[in-house]
């Protein structure tokens, strides 16, 4: 029996004092709560870089401490295929539902636009989506899209920060009643529609409150274009 390592004694964390371990725990907590999707262990380690080199046993130890800390709470820290994430415990299903007085009947415009861009431009990063939309995409939207399983992370772009690459899923196609992505209308046709509308002095206005999900043509309040 040459193997003398105790399973309980973390091997590499010996040099770390309790303060450092606590700091690592908090950094991981911050990153996990802010993330829109599960965070891979390597990204968690990277987030703690300022606190020193984090090896696997140290990470495991910090994760273990966090899991213990939330043992009696409404949320739990779980490991999924993509990494670690906090999630609301299943037994609070009814509670969470009760807090949503009226379930929104339709999806928000920002969510639909983001979804459409992912469908046509996949695999695509969040920054690329923002560049097309011209507005920031909130973490909330990215989270919702993934939780409804319409969008998933298929990889990471090898640029600084390794941003996630998003793509649409089988569920997305099923919900739209499509077999393949190419059954979506070609973008050119949609662009033409938008162009025709604007040439005619109309804008494709986002419906504000009206419930009809139809394409609406509205007189443009002014014809000045913002392309200066």
């Amino acid at each position: 029996m040459n193997d003398v390592t105790s399973p309980d004694a973390p091997q590499a964390a010996t040099e770390l004092d309790t303060d450092t371990l606590g700091a690592i725990e908090l950094a991981i907590e911050a990153v996990l709560f802010a993330a829109a999707e599960p965070v891979a262990p390597r990204d968690l380690k990277a987030a703690c870089e300022d606190l020193g080199e984090i090896d696997q046993p140290t990470l495991d130890q910090a994760i273990g401490r966090l899991q213990e800390r939330y043992a009696d709470r409404a949320i739990e820290l779980v490991r999924t295929a993509g990494g670690y994430r906090f999630r609301v415990r299943a037994r609070f299903s009814a509670t969470v539902q009760a807090a949503q007085p009226e379930r929104p009947a339709r999806l928000s415009r920002a969510l639909l636009e983001t979804l459409a861009i992912i469908a046509y431009r996949q695999p695509v990063t969040r920054a690329e989506i923002e560049a097309v939309r011209g507005v920031a995409v909130s973490s909330g939207i990215m989270r919702t899209l993934q939780e409804r399983e319409w969008v998933r992370v298929v990889g990471h772009k090898e640029v600084p920060g390794r941003p996630a690459l998003y793509a649409t899923t089988r569920t997305f196609l099923d919900d739209l009643g499509l077999k393949r992505l190419e059954e979506l209308p070609p973008l050119d046709a949609i662009r033409d529609l938008a162009d025709v509308a604007s040439d005619a002095g109309f804008t494709l206005a986002p419906p504000e409150d009206e419930a009809n999900g139809q394409l609406r043509l509205e007189p443009a309040p002014d014809s000045d274009d913002d392309s200066r």
């Binding site: 609301v88 339709r106 046509y120 431009r121 996949q122 090898e158 690459l165 739209l176 992505l181 999900g213």
Partner: protein
Amino acid sequence: MDPRDELTDLENSATVETGAEGEFVYRVHGEPVAELPADLYIPPDALEVFLESFEGPLDLLLYLIRRQNLDILAIPIAEITRQYMAYIEVMRALRLELAGEYLVMAALLAEIKSRMLLPRPVQADADEDTDPRMALIRQLQEYEQFKTAAERLDEIPRMDRDVYAAAASVEALEGPPPPAPTMDELMEALAAVMHRASLSAHHHISTEQLSVRERMSSILEVLHPERFTDFVTLLLASEGRQGVVVSFLAVLELTKSGLVEWGQSEPYSPIRLRRRGGRPDTEEA
């Protein structure tokens, strides 16, 4: 660096002033010249710097006033008008297309200047409505008020830029299914995006390219960063020749985006692929 600093350089190398008789005097390095020399060097991006630096005539006026540590309440109209006109003239001399508002302001300044040469107005008339100088001062004050407010607004910690919401996944929860997107909604959203930002003219995405995009996603998912996968294994017999083409285009597209790398161990051996990022020493394919 404040882009306006570059303007100072521009001013130093070439300036335009209104002379005593109202004609414009061009100066290069302080020396008056009769005409704007044809070879006068103006940094090519100076014009854009100018346009991007000022939010309009009020902003330019404020800049001119503040540059001399003057109070808005005591604008020396003649002097400010002279400087403003100089700027406008430089821009015109450079054939810079000016927003109409700059010219309107130029006319207003000229009018105020001429009015101040006239005999003192009747007191009853001298309110904001009839005295253009008062109205201009009011406008400048008000604009500065909101310009400052805008700067302060930008300093407030903002969600998703400076602060982050803390949320947890709801995937474990059960409940009625959420609304699904309809094709109409999706198309409508997309049309709005394109109308707004336009996916730029060179992105002609057709159905063929859509299938390539879809394949890009699925290939990316199958590939490992650390070991190579044979290209052939990515093909489905049921897809036939068409499938090979789509897969090949997808691989090319992924390579172009720097997302995969591929190689052969020797000529005529199978093409093999892996996701980039497995090792730091990856090479361009």
